[in-house]
Amino acid sequence: MSENKSPKTLFDKIWKNHVIDNIDESNSLLYIDLHLVHEVTSPQAFEGLRLSKRNVRQPDKTFAVPDHNVPTVNRDKIEDELSKKQLKALEKNTKDFGISYFPIDDIRQGIVHIIGPEQGLTQPGMTIVCGDSHTSTHGAFGALAFGIGTSEVEHVLATQTLLQKPAKNMRINLNGKTQKGVTAKDLILGLIGKIGTAGGTGHVIEYAGSAIKNLSMEGRMTICNMSIEAGARAGLIAPDETTFNYIKGRNFAPKENWDQALKFWKSLPSDETAKYDNEEILEVNKLEPQVTWGTSPQDVSSIKGKVPNPENEKDLNKRQSIINSLEYMGLKPGTKLEDIKLDQVFIGSCTNSRIEDLREAANIVKGKSVKTKAMVVPGSGLVRQQAEEEGLDKIFKEAGFEWRESGCSMCLAMNADKLKPGERCASTSNRNFEGRQGKGGRTHLVSPIMAAAAAISGRLTDVREFI
């Protein structure tokens, strides 16, 4: 068939492999290979199933873990009654419906987007969904992965399918070689600064180019994680040897079918002549470590920059939004970012709490002590264990960091870990929205090494001084 020969993008290939039926002029029924579930966006979906007397179609393709609402200290007894109820509901729902579950005291427990890849559940060419917008993280493996709402969670539980409109294809080439001190987090922040938080709306972004090729899987996950902050439905990176090496030998990775899987995975990257609806290029050679100054991830600057002056913005809407941001953030135009003092530092979240992130941060912290309140929340029990085996916990603790148990923690401030009104935090998470880390809390997004440097100097700091 000629149709099969037309050049396709990675997205087109995955899409085509999963369409069961074209429902109407806009929607297709898409098969879902892996459904990840957590405690906050699922209870209403299970309730829906019960009310309509429906079952989970594929409990073996559904994995659940509590992460958003778990305490990161004293986990034996959960004080908050509402949290306890929500965690109990997940336990009961997974039991009643026969779903694999990593409970809070299981070493495999962790942030849902950390444990999918860690367990080898996340594989190239799959469709992956979760009731969480940062499901885009899994796109780092060349899987089509996106966040869904609770009604859709119920739909996937009941049918193992989802109604979807095809997305548009966008390719972003990140070319060049990064300077030292510039990480995957800086690349994605820099990119969002360029294209804006609605820059990817309606698109699936495929990240390509030499700077992506050279990244580890951890770095690629950081990039894809924040696709949603660029407004995209999902992020994708073509699978290659780095991907395959990461997957090999993991718990749920293919074993006897490895060669067959590998052959298929190698067929997935976009065809050379494939067409994209949109293309962007970011030259990364000159990119400096990035930090946000406002209340949207696009409010970003090089650490060497200054707080912008709203007067310089001609668009009235944008000007007003800068004025609002600065008022909320308690910042004056023209202030050097490096002069901004901090109260707290948070190293954690599905953006940056993998072992590589902790290693790099520990490297900066080693032998020094912090000037702010600071905490490290590893992404999973296994990351925590690995870090402890390498002695990273000691380095952090000796420097004055708190060493916590895994979960989302202060990324969204649902548990007890939150900022007080007016407190200022350098955070490795992905959202600096008003109130995201606690009502009135002020967030500056940075990479793990920038966070480490900030904790040591007590202000936003150019990490390159420490390397």
């Binding site: 949290s83 929205f433 995201r436």
Partner: protein
């Protein structure tokens, strides 16, 4: 799903851009296992002051807009988290329809799954509507999905586009899951083929 046909109600202009779902409903309000009762926490961080009293500057606290059924929004409304709680909170508060130039993807989907109509118009039309409803005398609008029109107090009519399937679903109050389950045979067949083609996806043995 609830149907949507026609509503008449007050429209509140809330023009801030990039309103994220954390602002619509903060994380600390998500410790619920129900879809109901979230209206009291809608926009809670900006609707209430530090001491819990009402922030009178916030649009939905102003006398004329207290009982709004329609929200006219700024660009990229609903960005950020996928939490459907944002739509549940709007709905529980009484908001049945949103009008804006652009909505974030997941939020937009979530609206329609809950019988909330999100209308996309070009910025000129949205600005015009904002201007009109900003005057308390003219803040009432009539939204008719069947004829795809927004009607102002002065009987001015603004047409809107909507994807046919979204319109159908809202008018009929379609239950997506029942509809998909009618395709059970196709799903069975797909899974059967898949087991042969991608056997490693079946072997979950961790």
């Amino acid at each position: 799903m609830e149907k949507f046909k026609k509503i008449v109600g007050i429209a509140a202009p809330f023009t801030r851009i990039n309103v994220d779902t954390d602002l619509i409903i903060p994380a600390e309000s998500l410790k619920t296992i129900s879809r109901k009762g979230l209206g009291k926490d809608l926009f809670s961080y900006i609707r209430f002051n530090e001491n819990g009293s009402q922030n009178n500057k916030f649009i939905l606290n102003q006398p004329n807009y207290k009982n709004s059924k329609i929200l006219v929004t700024g660009k990229n409304f609903g960005c950020g988290s996928s939490r459907e709680h944002a739509v549940w909170a709007l709905k529980d508060f009484g908001i049945k329809c949103l009008i804006g130039t652009e909505f974030a993807d997941i939020f937009y989907n979530n609206c329609f799954k809950n019988g909330v109509l999100a209308i996309i118009l070009d910025s000129k039309k949205v600005e015009k509507i904002i201007k009109i409803v900003s005057s308390s005398k003219n803040s009432e609008l009539e939204i008719d999905l069947e004829s795809q029109t927004v009607k102002t107090k002065q009987n001015e009519i603004i047409n809107f586009d909507i994807l046919p399937y979204l319109k159908r679903n809202l008018l009929e109050g379609v239950d997506d899951i029942s509809k998909t389950l009618e395709k059970k045979k196709l799903i069975d067949e797909y899974e059967f083929d898949m087991k042969k083609k991608y056997p490693w996806l079946e072997k979950k043995n961790g």
